[in-house]
Symmetry: C2
Subunit: 484 residues, 2 copies
C-alpha cells in the first residue's frame, strides 16, 4: 500500500482534451501504458498494452491479405546506398532522413548502407533475379517490419518517431489493369480495417502529383480527420507503374513470347493508425478503444466487502470463465486497490465495458455494466448476459464510428476562393474546393494557409465549375487541410 | 511452355547430402525457395515458403508464451552506444560485431548508435524507469524482432547471416528462485517446440563459464546434432542474476518495505532453427518438413488425361475442400506441368504427403498417398480418407523424430582422455567426458581438437570419476563437439 496517494496522482489524467490536444495525447499514451520514449532519442518503446492493439490490427489485416492471396516474407533492414539511388525520385524523397551505416565494430564496411526507410529498392533487386515468366504473376508479397526515418526534432509517440512498425506490400503484375485492380483492392481492405474495426471514417481518393509517393505513377490514400482539424494519412496504396521495373530490370516472358517490363504496386499501413485511434475516440478520462480492436473488451470488477468477499470473488471468477470464450475479458481482483481506483484505471486504459458485481447483484441474479463511451449504466440479467454484452459492444463500436463520422462531416466546408480556403483552415476545418489540377494553385494554398492538398475523392467530379484559385476549368474536387 | 528443360535442370537437386552437406544445404535452401542471398552482403531475404515455416514456429511458441502469462512488446532497433557499454562483460561480447550508426542523411547524430545485437541494455534502461514495486513482478515481456551481428566473412543462409529473426524474452523477478524457475520453464517450452514440432531431439543442460551469454550468471541451452557431427545451439535461456539490475538500477520496493535489486532472465530462439530443420531431416531429393510445422502438409496432384480431365479435376477440388478444414492442403492443378515434374517439385519443397488422384482411382473410390520421408505408397479409401491421413501425418512426424533421435544416440561416444576426445571429434562425433569444471581442461580440447564444450547435461552426474584431462575429481558430465 506504499505511496498510494502519489500513485493515483501520477497515474490519473491531468490535461483536458479540449484544453490542449497535444499534451492530452502525450499524457494518454504514457499513462495508459501504450508506449513511451526510449533511451534512443526519437525512438519509441511500445509497451504490451499498445503492442496488443497492434497485434489485433495485424491479425485482422494479415488474415484479410492472405484471403486475397498474399504471402508474407522478410527482406533485410539494411539497404546498400547504391540500390536506394537507382530510382531518381525515390532517393530524393528518402535519402535526407535515412540513417547511414558505415562500420561494423571498428571495421569500415566495403560499401555504405542505409536503414530501410521503405524497401522498394532492395526487394526489387531480388524480384529481378526471381521473376522470369508470366506464370509467376501476379506476385503478391507482403512484409511486416519496421522502418527508419530520422525525426530528430519533434518526436510524437506513434505519430512521429524515428522508427515505426508497419507492413509494406510489394506486388508485381503483368498488366497495368491488373496493377490498378490491386491498388484499389488493397485500399478497400485498408478502408474496411480502419472504418469497421478502428471505427475511424476516412475520405478515400488520390494524391496530387506533389503529394504522391516518391517514385510512384500515382498514390491512393485514406485520410482521417483529427479533433484539431488536421488530417492524418491512415494508409496509402501506390501504382508504381514501370518506374521501378525499368530501374531494376524486372522483366518477364509473357504468354505472347514477348519480354515485358512488369507493373508494380506498393502499399502500407503503420502504427500511426494507433495515434489516430487515440486522438479520435479518447476523452478527458483517457483512452476509448473500439471493442473490435480492444485488447481487453470487458473488465470485471468485484465489489468486495469483508463479509461477502468470498462469494463475490467466486461469482466474478465464474462470470469471467463464462464470458471468455466469446470476449476478451479481464478480472481485476487485486485486493489492495479500491473499486474506485480501478474504475479510473480501466477508464484511462479505454476498456469499452466495465462490469461491476457486488453482494446485492448476486442476490438479484444480475450485474451492472458501465459503458466507457457514454458512462451509461445497464443492468445485465445473469441468464441473458452474453447476449446483452454482445449487443452493448456492437452499440459502442457503432456509436464511436457515428460520432467520428459526424465530426468529419461537420468539419468539411466548401470554399470558393483562396480567401475562403484560408478562413476555413484558420477555423481548423477542411476546405473542399473545385480545382483545375495545376500545382501552382496547390502551392498558393500552402503559402497562404500552410495547408496541403490531402485527397482528391474518387467519387466526386467538378462538373462545369471553375478552379477556386485561378478560375480556369476545374477538373477535380480537392480537400485541403493541415496535416500530421 | 518456354524453357521447360532448362527450368527442370535449374530447379532440381544436383548435390547429394552425403557427398557435400554444405553445398547440398545451400542448394536446398535456394531451390526450395526458403531463402536467398540479398543485395546487402551477408543479409538474407526470407522468401514466403521459408517465412511460412517461421510463422508456424511463431504461432506455436507465441501461444505457449502467452499461456504462461507473457506479453509482447517492441523496443527500438537502435541502441545508444553508451547504454551497450553499461554492463562490462556484455559490451565485450557484442561490440566487435555491432553495426554502427553515426549519421542521418548528411547530418551527424548527437551520439553514436549500434543496431541491436540483442536488446538487454535498451530494454533495461526503460525497465528501471517503470519498475517500482513488487506488485509489478514478475514482469514477463517478450519481443519478436530481428537482430544484427556482422558476419561479413562467411554467410550461410539461416545459420550465419548479419541479420536474423528471433524472439528475445526479458523477464524481471523479485527473487532468485523465481528467476531460476522462469529460466527452466522457458527452456522446457523451447524443448517442447523443438522436439515435438520440429522433430529434432536436443540435449538440454548448462553452458560452461566460457560459453555462457556475455553478462549472465548462467546460461541453459538446447543442443541439436547435425549430420556432419557438429552441434547447433537451438535455444538459450539465461539467468542474468543481478548483473544488469545493478548496472541499470532496476530496483523495487518489496513487501517487507526494503528496496531491492531485481533478478532477471533473458531467453531466445531464432530462424537458425530453420537451418537445423533443413539439415536434420532433408535427403537427396531436397527438404523434408515435419507435418506439424509444414506450411503445406498435403499436396493433391490430379493425374490428367484428355478424356477424363474434367472428372478428375472436379474430384481433386472436392477432395481439397473436404480436407482443408483439418489440414493445410494445396491442390496443384497447373496444366502446363506434368505430374512427374510436380512430384519432383513438391519433394524438393519437402511436403510431407502427396496424394495422387487419377481416373482409375475415381472408379475404385480411392486415392494414392505417397510419404515424403519413406516414399511408401498407401491406398486411401475415400470414406476413411481424413482418418487415414491424420494417422499417416502422425507417423511421419514420429518417424522423423525417431530417426534423428537414433542418429544423436549413435553419435555420442564416451571418451576417457584428451586423445580419445580428439579421435571422436575427428570421426565427426560428440565426445562425452567426465570433467573437473576447470576452464583449462576445456581450453585443452579447443587446442587439440578444435571443439568446444557444448553442454553439461542437467540429469547426469560424474559420480566418483576423474577429469578426462587433468585427472582431478570430476564434477560434471560434459559434451564436446564442433559447432555451427
Amino acid at each position: 500500500m506504499e505511496n498510494r496517494a502519489k500513485e493515483v496522482k501520477e497515474q490519473g489524467m491531468t490535461v483536458k482534451k479540449s484544453d490542449d490536444l497535444s499534451e492530452w495525447y502525450n499524457e494518454v499514451v504514457v499513462k495508459a501504458e501504450l508506449a513511451d520514449h526510449s533511451g534512443a532519442k526519437g525512438f519509441m518503446f511500445i509497451r504490451p498494452y499498445g503492442y496488443a492493439v497492434w497485434e489485433n490490427i495485424q491479425g485482422i489485416l494479415d488474415s484479410k491479405l492472405k484471403k486475397l492471396g498474399h504471402k508474407n516474407a522478410y527482406s533485410p533492414a539494411l539497404i546498400p546506398e547504391r540500390l536506394l539511388s537507382k530510382e531518381a525520385e525515390h532517393v530524393k524523397g528518402f535519402a535526407p532522413e535515412a540513417y547511414v551505416v558505415t562500420h561494423a565494430g571498428s571495421e569500415k564496411l566495403a560499401e555504405r548502407y542505409v536503414l530501410r526507410p521503405t524497401s522498394e529498392t532492395i526487394i526489387y533487386e531480388s524480384y529481378a533475379k526471381w521473376i522470369r515468366s508470366h506464370r509467376q504473376l501476379p506476385l503478391l508479397w507482403n512484409f511486416w517490419n519496421s522502418v527508419f526515418r530520422a525525426e530528430i526534432k519533434m518526436t510524437k509517440l506513434f505519430l512521429r518517431t524515428s522508427e515505426f512498425l508497419w507492413q509494406e506490400g510489394h506486388t508485381v503484375h503483368a498488366t497495368e489493369e491488373d496493377c490498378d485492380r490491386e491498388v484499389m483492392l488493397i485500399l478497400d481492405a485498408y478502408r474496411d480495417l480502419i472504418e469497421n474495426y478502428l471505427a475511424i471514417p476516412v475520405v478515400s481518393g488520390k494524391k496530387s502529383e506533389r503529394e504522391k509517393f516518391a517514385g510512384a505513377l500515382y498514390t491512393t490514400t485514406l485520410e482521417a480527420l483529427m479533433p484539431d482539424g488536421r488530417a492524418l494519412q491512415m494508409g496509402t496504396s501506390h501504382n508504381l507503374g514501370q518506374n521501378f521495373s525499368k530501374a531494376f530490370s524486372i522483366t518477364f516472358l509473357d504468354a505472347d513470347k514477348q519480354r515485358k517490363h512488369a507493373w508494380q504496386a506498393s502499399w502500407g499501413v503503420s502504427t500511426r493508425m494507433i495515434g489516430a485511434l487515440i486522438m479520435v475516440h479518447g476523452d478527458d478520462k483517457g483512452l476509448i478503444l473500439p471493442p473490435r480492436i480492444a485488447p481487453v473488451q470487458i473488465v470485471i470488477i468485484p465489489i468486495l466487502f469483508e463479509k461477502s468477499k468470498d462469494a463475490v470473488l467466486k461469482k466474478a471468477k465464474e462470470m469471467k470463465k463464462a464470458l471468455e470464450s466469446s470476449f476478451r475479458v479481464e478480472l481485476d481482483d487485486r485486493e489492495d486497490y479500491t473499486p474506485g481506483w480501478k474504475f479510473n484505471e480501466h477508464e484511462l486504459r479505454g476498456v469499452p465495458l466495465r462490469i461491476e458485481i457486488g453482494p446485492k447483484d448476486i442476490e438479484k441474479n444480475q450485474a451492472v455494466a458501465v459503458r466507457r463511451d457514454t458512462s451509461e449504466k445497464i443492468v445485465l440479467r445473469e441468464n441473458l448476459m452474453e447476449k446483452e454484452i454482445k449487443k452493448l459492444l456492437e452499440e459502442i463500436q457503432k456509436g464511436l464510428y457515428a460520432k467520428a463520422k459526424n465530426f468529419l462531416e461537420q468539419n468539411v466546408k466548401n470554399a470558393s476562393d483562396l480567401e475562403e480556403v484560408s478562413k476555413h483552415i484558420g477555423k481548423r476545418m477542411v476546405a473542399r474546393v473545385n480545382w483545375c489540377g495545376d500545382g501552382k494553385c496547390e502551392e498558393a494554398v500552402k503559402e497562404k494557409a500552410a495547408a496541403t492538398l490531402r485527397v482528391i475523392r474518387f467519387d466526386e467530379t467538378a462538373g462545369n465549375s471553375r478552379c477556386f484559385c485561378c478560375g480556369k476549368k476545374a477538373l477535380h474536387v480537392a480537400y485541403f487541410s493541415k496535416a500530421y
